[in-house]
Symmetry: C2
Amino acid sequence: MEHHFAQRIRRVRPSAIRQLLQLGDDPSITSFGGGYPDPGLFPVAQLREVYDHVLREQGRTALQYTGTAGIPALRAQIAERMVRDGSTCGADDVLVLQGAQQGLDLVAKLLINPGDAIVTENPTFLGALVAFNPYEPDYAPVALDEDGMDMESLEQVLADTPRAKFIYAIPDFQNPTGVTLSTQRRHRLLELAHEHDLIVLEDTPYRELRFEGEQLPTLHSLDTEGRVIHLGSFSKTLAPGLRMGYAVAHRSILAKLELLKLAADTQSSTLNMTATARFLTEFDLDAHLEAVRPAYRAKRDAMVGAMAESFPAGVQFTRPEGGLFTWVTFPEGFDAAGFMAEQVLPKARVAYVPGETFFPTTSPATQASHYARFSYASVPHEQMVAGIRRLGDLLAAS
Amino acid sequence: MEHHFAQRIRRVRPSAIRQLLQLGDDPSITSFGGGYPDPGLFPVAQLREVYDHVLREQGRTALQYTGTAGIPALRAQIAERMVRDGSTCGADDVLVLQGAQQGLDLVAKLLINPGDAIVTENPTFLGALVAFNPYEPDYAPVALDEDGMDMESLEQVLADTPRAKFIYAIPDFQNPTGVTLSTQRRHRLLELAHEHDLIVLEDTPYRELRFEGEQLPTLHSLDTEGRVIHLGSFSKTLAPGLRMGYAVAHRSILAKLELLKLAADTQSSTLNMTATARFLTEFDLDAHLEAVRPAYRAKRDAMVGAMAESFPAGVQFTRPEGGLFTWVTFPEGFDAAGFMAEQVLPKARVAYVPGETFFPTTSPATQASHYARFSYASVPHEQMVAGIRRLGDLLAAS
């Protein structure tokens, strides 16, 4: 049936990471590959109470269709959280999404003609590339350092990319590197977006998982021109299985995104929206996060501590202040994918994600083979430390 | 910000029906406009039991991410229902979707290059046009009669449409007309699809709401070539607020649809999938439907009975054997939209959906102004009869 497929489908292929995530199902492998949050931190009992209440008191309404933008109570709760995070925002500025992932799809659908360019961090979130690819964009990747996207590199990229349509940024604890964009650079990024009249897509799935240091202002809160589309998610703060995300944007943009959501899936689950809204009014998400953050900090400490102890000199890794990932840089020329397949999996029974998959373009100039992403989110402490040690021993012997 | 939008967005506009559905919120209006099922028929108590059990016994798993295709238990249950409905189908042939609406979006994304044609019933489901439009198709509409799509018209349309990519069909109790495609025509449609090497998209949201007559075979069950993509939904059998739909198709197609779903929203809600699967194993959906069908039959009887009593001769309406809608044909030249705005809403306090919106193309040859869609699903009996009578009086006086 392949001869029936549209041209865009040439860009739709299974990714290496999906096959790897399947390895995570083998219980004899300690997998640092997935991006799953720790299910032990989900507020299961509270959610059970919430669903029971909603189905008891307002079952018919919660099981019926509702408007595409989402139920008013949830939009208002999200707007309130945005205001507390420094933005000007009302309920009408919020579009509830099927996870923030849906925002990546709809924004590319809104903005990208084939051959338009998307400016991304280099490396960037694989799920974003997967969402963008069917719209047949070119990518214009911008170098990163420990303060996030490099502004000289961004300036150069924008000068060289006349068909740039938007800048895709994950300012907080970026996936895959764990780095955070400095405040000064946030301001500069918006200046450059203004100069080139670009939309900015701000993706913040990990923002509320800061376990160290000061929270920095969102791009949305710094934007005075309505050019930032802000994506948020409850996947890492409540639970991913609810598929609750949202977009906040200028109304001229949000109105079109709402029509595209109507076209794509009518609406998100009324029941899950009603339950999330009730969770936010009846329970204290911030108090819940106060309990969650130290748990992730302890996980980060365990992983980077074990790496510091057991990885040979010459192997570097980031020390993120939040989120789920650290980014490992092996010596140049090292083949992280080959080493994993031939050595790490069979001998150390450990999996990570080779970094190559997170680079939007491959070129001889990009040396992408010597990186790897490690998640510290969901492997128990002792198993994590033991896995990192086995990997360290292998690295030392190689 | 409009100057940033992609070319496809020219085809993304608010539809008349959405503004109309907002009228449905005015409690002084009796609205036959919406397509909502009757919330009084939702199995609320059973779903409450199911969610409570799932969150008590397997909360962490049900709140975590899972695979894009959906949880195995639900895929297996859906496959089993497909087999009972005459198809060859295993769990691996099922992709769980965010409502069948998502299938409409993903199938167009899979198949349509700008300028390719989609063959549709004339009129057809508005939500399908909304989903297809961003992919910039042309439409090739096929005449309908009381046995569904007219096969001579289809033959002619296919001969005249070299860029036809797929045939979109709602064989059972079509939206908006309520008509059902005869068995003989189902066979003929597949023959023609074979001759022209076309995919067939079979949309069946109302199929299990047959309250009269014999169930006819699905196109999927008659297909021997793997060219039918079958969409199903639990929105009208369980509840729309769960957003549970599915696609069943040849694996070469389903694998691509799965990748497009991954790109679009990662997965459907794990919690809602787990709860739906448990509902299907613990409760008897067919027994539930045995109670639901007579309720809709009584509603259909009340509406078409009141129409027969109070509409003037020369106004015709279909008598559907299932589903939620009847289709009214006013005398040629009648302006159903203008009449509603100027007479029906202010004087009879009644709303319907003027038929024009369901026709994929407008041309002088298409006389589309003298139709209207009426839903009998969710207005209580006496209010429905009174509303139809007030409308009949207005029609008689006009």
